[in-house]
């Protein structure tokens, strides 16, 4: 059984059709890259997977381990191991990053019937992952993402991912706004989490990120459906030719 299966997914926003029968199967241990021009539905897919409610699913299924998750609220999807790294992580003044991390981790553990982590154990885990990502302790005491640079916000997303240990990681344009050094730090963070049990869906507009997070499968999304699937070479070809041909094919 695939870890994630998206079947004939049709989604509308404000009456406008964004996803038009999207099919996607992701197996454990694999990294799938999802590429496509602006407006092709990449971010919509990411948000629908995570459970944002501004999107109307008119048809189709999203199966995580064979279970349809479309009826579940976002927090239950998260507890089942789905994680969305946001393209634009939000700032939450007044909620300390540590409080946020701890509340999230313990809520997920509780939902799964596990004990809450003790304070020392929690701190140990946070310090370990923060260290790898070059996130200062001082930043963790601040409000969530408050006063963080674009790169720091993305690193904070990866920190959350590393701490929560999800099974399916959806990265929504994690490379946007990152310089090359920050990109490497983020990619190292992601690569460090690769395991036979975990899968990644890496959404990106550019091939550059895929030099650092090397995908097993590359999909091209256009007008709300996958129009081509290949290996990492496909991403390199796209870099040379652009998306125009796929948009024309659909027209």
């Amino acid at each position: 059984m695939h870890l994630l299966e998206v079947k004939n997914l049709r989604v509308e926003v404000d009456g406008k059709k964004i996803l038009n029968g999207l099919e996607l199967s992701v197996s454990r241990g694999s990294v799938h890259a999802l590429m496509g021009p602006n407006g092709s539905g990449k971010s919509t897919l990411a948000h629908v997977l995570a459970g944002k409610d501004d999107y109307v699913v008119t048809q189709g299924e999203v199966l995580l381990d064979g279970e349809d998750i479309l009826a579940l609220p976002p927090e239950e999807r998260a507890a089942k191991g789905l994680f969305l790294a946001f393209q634009y992580p939000f700032e939450i003044p007044g909620v300390a990053t540590m409080t946020f991390l701890r509340t999230a981790l313990n809520a997920q553990r509780k939902k799964r019937g596990e004990d809450e982590l003790s304070t020392p154990e929690f701190l140990k885990r946070v310090r370990a992952v923060a260290g790898k990502l070059g996130i200062e302790q001082e930043m963790l005491r601040r409000g969530v993402n408050v006063g963080f640079s674009g790169g720091e916000k993305k690193r904070n997303e990866i920190l959350q991912m590393a701490l929560l240990q999800p099974r399916l990681c959806v990265l929504d344009e994690t490379d946007s706004g990152l310089d090359i050094d920050a990109l490497k730090v983020v990619a190292d963070g992601v690569n460090g989490l690769r395991s036979p049990e975990r899968a990644f869906v890496v959404i990106t507009h550019y091939q550059r990120l895929l030099n650092y997070i090397v995908p097993d499968v590359v999909h091209v999304l256009s007008r709300g459906r996958i129009v081509k699937t290949g290996d990492k070479q496909l991403a390199l070809d796209l870099e040379a030719t652009g998306y125009a041909q796929y948009q024309e094919e659909m027209a």
Binding site: A50, G51, K52, D53, P73, P74, E75, R77, A78, A79, F83, L84, F86, P89, F90, I92, P93, G94, V95, T99, F100, T103, A104, L105, A107, Q108, K111, G143, Q160, L164
Partner: protein, 443 residues
């Protein structure tokens, strides 16, 4: 003030007149104090209870809200004291010197008046009034004079309260906690009056809690007159947690000296109708003040904060931050006026009010006013009202945090921004615990 004559008295006004005639001779203080009461009551009778056509009371129509006047509370008996003790046990554990008033009367056996620090005196207002104390009369009603009807009514009926003085340069090691408990079996009226004088260079923190034993419909009218000396550093935190049926009208009149620090915080979760008035006047240059507050309201609670910050002299800074969290049919009113007098150059005053509406039926009314007569000042106000941010809620939920918990985190953060202004860490924590308890009760 409105000089309109009321041809017909309301039931409450009639009851107040009868009550005053019946009890005035039994109230503490004869002579000058008695004359003060008589004069105050005459002024009240001329005005009557304020109603919505009186601008200052536009949003809190006391004439309509106060259907009847409750009888004055009895002196607490053993049963009332026992009930009060139960209520005291529910108060947050703040390391402080407690002074406890039950149904408006000082109760020594519940208070901690032994071993007062050097420079600190605490007396009973009722005793000071009865003695016709000259020092008291020199200050009473004179720190920030006002014709406000709630104060006038309080002066007519004032019973007990605290008279506190902190001597020049004295720094109190722990806060003084004035606790007003309404423990009576029957709904009753309490008129509490306190006077606090903090002399030059002294450091004091005053916490004032109002709590009710039950959902009984008590009527509380409380007045605190506060004089903050030059170079003094004073915090006053008032926690309004009366019973769910209570009508609570409170007035702070504070005059602040030069180069002083003054922090006021008004925290309200209790009462059916609450009106918190704060009249703060800056009398000396170079003073920094924070006047903040937070109200958490649900059911049909109504809480009105009416503030006048009078920058009468140059070079003072004030920050006003008020937050309200409104659930169900809760309603918050904020009337905030900053006055910058002609000579008050270099005044730096900023006022912000924010309302968080958790339901479609909640209401927030905001009336900021700036009256600026000086030309070299920085003065501004901002007001917002709205619901919780859906994007932030989604972000939290996407990390596995259930909806209620996500809301609670954001509400705590919202209130926390005002509470952060409190310098005392123990009190900040106590208030945030109160917020958490309020959120948990929300279910």
């Amino acid at each position: 003030m409105n000089a309109e004559v009321h041809p017909i008295k309301t039931a409450a006004e009639t009851a107040l007149a009868q009550s005053f005639a019946a009890v005035k001779r039994a109230l503490p203080g004869a002579g000058a104090v008695g004359a003060l009461r008589e004069d105050a009551f005459r002024r009240f009778e001329a005005e009557g209870l304020p109603h919505r056509r009186v601008e200052e009371w536009k949003y809190t129509d006391l004439r309509a809200l106060m259907r009847e006047a409750k009888p004055l509370a009895d002196v607490p008996d053993a049963a009332a004291k026992a009930r009060a003790k139960d209520v005291l046990a529910t108060l947050p554990a703040i390391e402080a010197r407690r002074v406890v008033f039950v149904d408006g009367a000082l109760v020594l056996e519940l208070s901690d008046l032994a071993g007062l620090e050097a420079g600190l005196t605490i007396r009973s207002m009722a005793q000071a009034l009865a003695a016709g104390d000259g020092d008291l009369l020199a200050h009473l009603g004179r720190i920030v004079p006002t014709d406000d009807v709630a104060v006038v009514l309080n002066t007519a009926f004032m019973g007990d309260g605290a008279v506190i003085r902190v001597a020049r340069g004295a720094a109190l090691a722990q806060p003084i906690h004035l606790v007003f408990v309404n423990a009576g079996g029957e709904p009753a009226a309490v008129f509490a009056r306190s006077l606090v004088v903090i002399e030059k260079g002294a450091r004091a923190m005053l916490v004032e809690s109002h709590v009710g034993a039950t959902a009984s419909e008590d009527q509380v009218n409380t007045v605190l007159e506060l004089k903050v000396g030059d170079e003094a550093h004073v915090d006053h935190i008032k926690i309004t947690g009366d019973g769910a049926g209570a009508l609570h009208v409170s007035t702070l009149m504070a005059a602040i000296g030069a180069h002083a620090r003054f922090n006021e915080f008004l925290f309200t979760t209790g009462g059916a109708v609450v009106r918190n008035q704060a009249f703060v006047r800056f009398d000396g240059e170079g003073t920094i003040a924070g006047i903040r507050g937070a109200s958490l309201l649900k059911g049909r609670q109504h809480a009105d904060t009416t503030l006048v910050a009078d920058h009468a002299v140059a070079d003072c800074t004030s920050r006003e931050v008020f937050k309200s969290v409104l659930d169900e049919e809760g309603r918050s009113v904020f009337q905030g006026k900053i006055i910058v007098q002609r000579n008050a150059q270099k005044t730096d005053a900023k006022m912000a009010t924010h309302a968080l509406l958790l339901s479609e039926t909640a209401e927030a009314d905001n009336k900021p006013e700036l009256e600026i007569f000086a030309d070299d000042v920085q003065c501004g106000h901002g007001a917002t009202s709205g619901a919780l941010d859906e994007d932030l809620l989604f972000y939290l939920k996407a990390r596995g945090i259930p909806a209620k918990e996500a809301q609670a985190l954001l509400i705590q953060a919202f209130v926390g921004e005002a509470v952060e202004g409190i310098e005392h860490a123990g009190l900040r924590d106590a208030l945030m615990d109160h917020v958490v308890a309020w959120l948990e009760a929300r279910g």
